[in-house]
Amino acid sequence: MNYAKEELLAVTIARLIGDARHVAVGAASPIPATGAFLLKQQNPALRISLLQKRSGNPFTEGSRELFDLAGQGRIDVFFLGGAQIDGEANINLVAAEGKRFPGSFGSAFMYFTAGKTILFREEHSPRVLVKKVDYVSAPGWSPPEIERRGGPAALLTGKALFAWQTEKRRFLLESVHPGGKADDIRANTGFDYDMPAQVPATPGPTPAELRLLRGSVAHVIAENYPEFARRVWGEARPTATT
């Protein structure tokens, strides 16, 4: 079957969201948004809040409301990335090796208060996936005395999917995307992690999922991330079989 890398990542994200009831997707996150809207096709009750959407923003009280919502326990799934991500699921959005990044945004709060966080970064390299982040914008785990509702559930990259093992505070290589090899993952990952003897391939989109992605999902995504939709699905936004 032919599909785009973005489509593989989106269906993986849809599976990771699972039975959540409320997903919040940050700015500049077209792939998580695609995954969430794909899932909504199957579960219309799923609530998706697109943050900083230019129109039809779901909030009525300004930029504080997302954080209040999360504090109240009303956000089940959130997405975070990182200029660096390490083997303890710490993320760094501030600075590394003399380079300055934009900053931590709400990560240090959302990582604690959302029900679960999916770490997502397409670049899979030793530069991004490091042994230890240079700056902890938001910690991957907290000692027991610290109140923390949620934490990392998984780390999805352009090459592989890792599951987070809460007890061991370590990642487990869950699957490698089709065409990739476990050895290549080891070579491109700066942190140590567990892996089974046989690492399965990440399941690709089913024909039904592809139909949805290229139909109604592409339509919604094009409204909010026009550049991305054009790149993945072209101007025509084809429906059904391609």
């Binding site: 930029s63 954080f67 501030v94 600075a95 300055r100 934009p102 990560s107 240090a108």
Partner: protein, 279 residues
Amino acid sequence: MSDLRSNETRFLEDADAIAQEIPDGASIGLPPDYSPVAMAVVRALVRRKARQLKLIGVPVLGLCADILIGAGCVREIETSAVTLGEAGLAPRFTAAAEKGALRIIDATCPMIHTGLQATEKGVPFMPLRGVLGSDLVRHHPDWKTIDNPYSEGDPILLAKAIVPDVALFHARWADEAGNVWVGRRGELATIAHASKSCYVTYEERQAGDMLEDEILAPGCIGSVYISAVAPAPRGAWPLGVPGMYGIDDAHVQAYARMANTAAGFQQYLDEFVLKPVAA
């Protein structure tokens, strides 16, 4: 708190008149790029060669900060991020940060809201969950960890009240009573409530008193908080005003390219800031 008892909104002529009233060294609370930014005043601040400003991003900073930093107006920023959104990194901020030419107090969005809410309530601090274990806590000068007085062995972080000297933003409407309408952009109300003085540019003047209108009132910030307003049609450009005009993405992207070098940034200033520009 110099201006807190000010209760008469003054009507100024234009954005430059506002820039004249914002003194060098002032701390300025600013909204994110997706909430109306008083870009016309930002350009006027560059023209009047404002210096030593402290910018507070509520909760993030964007184009306005990058321009002010590039033009040498800024001593220090406190923010949870500086970004041009879809146009990528903020180039003058990045350059200044990497050169060490700017004091940066890194924060996280809800801690900035929390610090302003403390001032809004008139309390010296307010707690927030999460954040503990982040390096932000180690570096931030104003945050403290205490034990939750209601539950033993339960550490919790406190934000110290943030009191900007100046709140500065753009609104869709101002009325004859000095009220401004900002719709659902609640962060603008929080900045206005927490700041010692508050300057607002507006797109259009409304007759009468919007607070007498049950439909408009919920989106208003009452004149009791507003020091002065000034007209600035398309005053948020190249950023947008919800319901009126969107972000001029092409312009912001052009900015991002030009501002990648100091020379290109100077050219941007010459072309779009130092000489009056029609949006």
